[in-house]
């Protein structure tokens, strides 16, 4: 059985597609909705908004998360803001402009119809959040405030100080708790999905482990929604929350869901550099810092003076030099790549030599301490809290870190995967960001999916579903047994080494060879090394304790086992994508000046992988992308 990729994009002009879909989709009457049960795995922005909305419509919703409370999902950490085309600043912003920015930002590797819909729904998200009591920043007159973000030319980013993700998530979480109170929704916290139950080709439920008791059980439903976030922790160190993982989408892939563009991962340029081996994650510093900070490294590799004592002529402002018009505001991938290049050249700073300066000296001199404090005061304080150094006195040190995964489960226009009844939303799907995501667009996509798109597409699916889920179907028992067997296997390796030790090594392979830049030979050798490490893992892993209790080592080991397999697929995907696009820079495909070169003839596609069985090469399928609204052009930030 080979996978069919039908994106099911409605006909007609791009601006009318979503409306025509809404006008023609099938409905479930209010009195019948209570007959249907929907499982939502994940309670981040995407999952919480979807679960609350569907419960509010009258479906019975069961939401799962591995944290102790739905409110703690990784989305809570998003800082900068969320985009919407309100055009309050009267700059001529429009749905069309946000659409174009997103398509271009994604380097022409996203679906036009989806991106248009996203831009179109953006304003409703702000309205929804405000109605929930999300305290967005206001201007003196009480109107909503906006700022510009990530190098775009309009101010369309809404924010709650530096805690926008927290406030948006609390809004969605509270809406979900309201539904719990009403008896429409149930939150299964401290539960981890270990597998998907598929009956006759349809998703009918999940198997989850109660992390407190270790009990593994099946949960049946009429359809399943995965909102389980991204997989950048495959790199071990990333800006993602420590427990973010790929297990749910990976299990779905192994049950037949197509996995799209796994190699598209974004490495964010402004993070606090690693300071030692013990480190467990990297902290993002908001991109807005690049509006006023100047990025440089010493010109000489043997420089040993304090940064403040290095004179102008011995400083290399490499972005300003190479990109005179955009300077320090080049897109994320360009900034990350250039930082890597100067560090590879031995010019990096800090104890590990992998860091560059982000200097506010000139901005403080020109604009005054007060202005800079107003803009970045809390970020400076956060930097100082973590590093013990004050950006007022000495330049910050930054280095790129894995941040966001554009790849994920393939979904059609209705956010349905290749398994009927299995939907994927938020960062977990391959989504609307193509080969690179613009700042402040992830939260927009999560909430557009959860509040406004998925509840309708799920309705459409359920209205057409003519068979009931039978919780006694043998598939449920079989899937539970398979999950128990896997746990038993992990517990039984009987080696000596903790899972985190293997994870660090896997991360290093991925960062070096499938990170900021990639190249064929490196990727091929990475696959070899991953396989070798995986074998070592399966022979020398030690998971103490038992499976019948809270066992965090077991949780880590299970997630890592899946990361090994995903890492290999990421490398395979990066090899097949024989072009440079967005964040994916293949060293073989760049101009003499080091600019990425796309291949629109061969690679204007989504690469979708189909699992064929353990240790068998997965099949590669292509969804061809066409660009009718925006003409593909090469990016230039010179």
């Amino acid at each position: 059985m080979s996978m069919k990729l039908d994106a099911r994009i409605p006909d007609g002009p791009v601006e009318g597609k979503w409306h025509s879909w809404l006008d023609s989709h099938r409905l479930v009457g209010p009195r019948n909705r209570g007959d249907y049960e929907v499982i939502v795995v994940g309670t981040g922005l995407a999952g919480a908004s979807a679960a609350a909305t569907m419960a509010g419509m009258g479906y019975r919703v069961k939401a799962f998360c591995f944290q102790d409370s739905a409110r703690r999902a990784h989305s809570i950490a998003a800082q900068g803001g969320i985009n919407a085309t309100k055009d309050y600043a009267n700059e001529g912003d429009s749905v069309h402009r946000l659409f174009v920015d997103t398509i271009k930002g994604g380097d022409f590797r996203a679906r036009e119809a989806n991106v248009w819909r996203l831009a179109e729904l953006s304003t409703g998200i702000i309205d929804q959040a405000v109605a929930q009591g999300v305290p967005f920043n206001r201007e003196y007159g009480g109107m909503l405030a906006t700022r510009s973000f990530g190098g775009v030319l309009v101010e369309r980013t809404f924010y709650c100080r530096g805690q926008t993700g927290q406030q948006l998530l609390l809004g969605a979480y509270q809406a979900l708790q309201m539904q719990v109170h009403a008896g429409q929704a149930e939150v299964m916290s401290r539960h981890e999905m270990l597998d998907l139950v598929v009956v006759d080709g349809r998703a009918r439920g999940i198997v989850a482990r109660n992390l407190t008791t270790g009990e593994i059980s099946a949960h049946a439903a009429d359809c399943v929604v995965l909102a389980t976030g991204g997989y950048c922790n495959v790199y071990y160190l990333s800006t993602n929350a420590k427990n973010s993982n790929a297990t749910a989408i990976w299990r779905a892939y192994k049950r037949g869901a197509g996995f799209a563009n796994p190699c598209f991962t974004q490495i964010h340029p402004t993070c606090i550099p690693q300071s030692g081996d013990y480190q467990s994650k990297l902290t993002l510093m908001s991109e807005s810092l690049r509006n006023d900070g100047r990025i440089w490294v010493p010109r000489n590799a043997d420089e040993d003076r304090e940064p403040s004592e290095i004179p102008e002529e011995d400083r290399l402002y490499y972005l300003e030099e190479r990109y005179p018009s955009y300077g320090n505001l080049v897109p994320r991938d360009v900034a990350s790549r250039q930082a890597k290049i100067v560090c590879d050249d031995g010019l990096g700073v800090g104890p590990t030599g992998r860091g560059v300066y982000l200097d506010f000296r000139d901005a403080i001199e020109e604009k005054g301490e007060e202005t800079i404090a107003g803009r970045y005061g809390n970020l400076f304080a956060m930097y100082e809290r973590i590093t013990g150094e004050s950006p007022w006195k000495t330049p910050m040190r930054i280095y790129p870190a894995p941040h966001y995964s554009m790849g994920g489960l393939w979904v059609d226009y209705g956010l349905q995967t290749t398994i009927p009844g299995l939907f994927a939303i938020g960062e977990a799907n391959f989504s609307d960001h193509g080969a690179n995501r613009l700042g402040a667009s992830a939260m927009m996509q999560c909430l557009a999916d959860g509040y406004f798109i998925l509840p309708h597409t799920v309705t459409d699916y359920l209205a057409d579903l003519d068979t009931e889920t039978d919780p006694n179907d043998p598939a449920f028992r079989e899937t539970v047994l398979a999950a128990e067997e896997r746990v038993g296997k992990l517990m039984g390796v009987g080696g000596t080494t903790a899972p985190s030790v293997f994870h660090r090594r896997l991360g290093q392979i991925m960062l070096d060879r499938c990170g900021i830049t990639r190249e064929k030979e490196g990727l091929e050798s990475a696959i070899e090394d991953i396989r070798e490490l995986r074998e070592e893992f399966w022979s020398d892993l030690r998971v103490p304790g038992t499976g019948e209790e809270l066992n965090q080592s077991l949780e880590l080991a299970g997630r890592l086992a899946d990361y090994f397999e995903l890492a290999e697929l990421m490398c395979a995907d990066a090899i097949e994508r024989d072009e440079s696009a967005g964040c994916h820079l293949r060293e073989e495909h760049q101009t003499e000046e080091g600019e990425a070169v796309r291949d629109d003839k061969l690679h204007a596609t989504v690469q979708v992988w189909e699992h064929r069985g353990e240790d068998e090469r997965p099949d590669l399928h292509h969804e061809h992308l066409s660009f009718d609204e925006v003409e593909p052009t090469a990016r230039s930030y010179k």
Binding site: S49, T53, G56, Q67, D68, S69, A70, R71, R72, A73, H74, I76, A77, Y88, D127, Q128, V130, A131, Q132, G133, P135, F136, R138, G141, G142, M143, L144, R161, Q163, Q166, Q167, L170, Q174, A175, Q177, H181, A241, K242, N243, G276, Y278, Q279, S280, R385, I386, T387, G388, Y451, F452, P455, T496, A498, S500, V501, R542, P544, G545, E549, L550, Q552
Partner: protein, 257 residues
């Protein structure tokens, strides 16, 4: 740096717990408290022991997962979350005790992991504005004074970690409850439900077995988000009004003169 640790070990809720002594050496001063525990855990596993269980996730001080009582103080000496406490904050060679947050409403699940679900149930009892998803009014038709927004935000930044509960001699969760009420009740959107919200959340708070507030102020002294105890005053204000409303409702509507 080297440290001597006394760590609370408890296999599960029903079982007895006790302190276990450990030593960690060669810790980088830049390591966070949780990273120091990671180093210790890798060593414990290599030596054939059972690693220490503790909650953590974002490691940036905003998810509220981490919940360590460090030397008897929730999150440790610096009024930041456990994950934002760094080893450079302790003298080399220090003896440090590590326990879970202590409160009878927060049973220990294992080692340093506690059950904080009562906080979710307090939110469930009214910590929201009753709107469902769909088209909403244009926000700028209802301006919010920036000082009201700031005030709401000062309370809304609560991360729900429960340090306030662990610090309170009465085991009260009033700072947590007050923060949510102050956030929503200071915005025009939250006004229609203000009394029901205050009443419902306080009733649930008491139902969960948390103690009352008697103004010790220990909660604000440990709150990593520096939420002010004033939010409890605001909560009481609305709670009293709520009780009056209920009284009136019971006696029948009182016609305004």
């Amino acid at each position: 740096m080297n440290f001597k640790l006394r760590v609370w070990r408890q296999p599960s809720e029903g079982n007895e717990g006790g302190f276990e002594a450990h030593e960690v050496s060669g810790v980088d001063p830049e390591a966070s408290f949780l990273e120091m525990l990671d180093i210790l855990n890798e060593k414990i596993v290599a030596d054939g022991g059972d690693p220490i269980a503790y909650d953590r996730d974002c490691m940036e001080g905003v998810c509220g997962s981490c919940s360590l009582l460090i030397d008897g103080i929730p999150h440790g000496p610096r009024q930041v979350t456990s994950c934002q406490t760094f080893m450079r904050d302790f003298p080399d060679g220090a003896e440090i005790s590590v326990e879970p947050f202590r409160n009878s409403a927060f049973p220990v699940i294992r080692d340093l992991v506690v059950d904080r679900s009562p906080l979710d149930r307090i939110i469930e009892a009214g910590g929201y504005i009753s709107v469902t998803s769909g088209p909403q009014p244009e926000p700028n038709t209802n301006p919010v004074r920036p000082e009201d927004q700031e005030h709401a935000m000062d309370a809304a930044i609560c991360i729900g970690c429960g340090a306030c509960v662990a610090a309170c001699p009465n085991g009260s969760a009033m700072l947590f409850t007050g923060a949510k009420v102050a956030h929503l009740n200071s915005l025009p959107q939250g006004d229609p439900e203000r009394f029901d919200r205050a009443h419902g959340m306080v009733a649930q708070h008491d139902e969960e077995g948390f103690g009352g507030c008697t103004n010790f102020g220990e909660c604000q002294a440990v709150c990593p988000q520096e939420i002010s105890i004033k939010v409890i005053g605001e909560l009481y204000h609305d709670y009293r009004q709520a009780m009056l409303h209920r009284l009136r409702a019971r006696r029948g509507a009182v016609k305004p003169q």
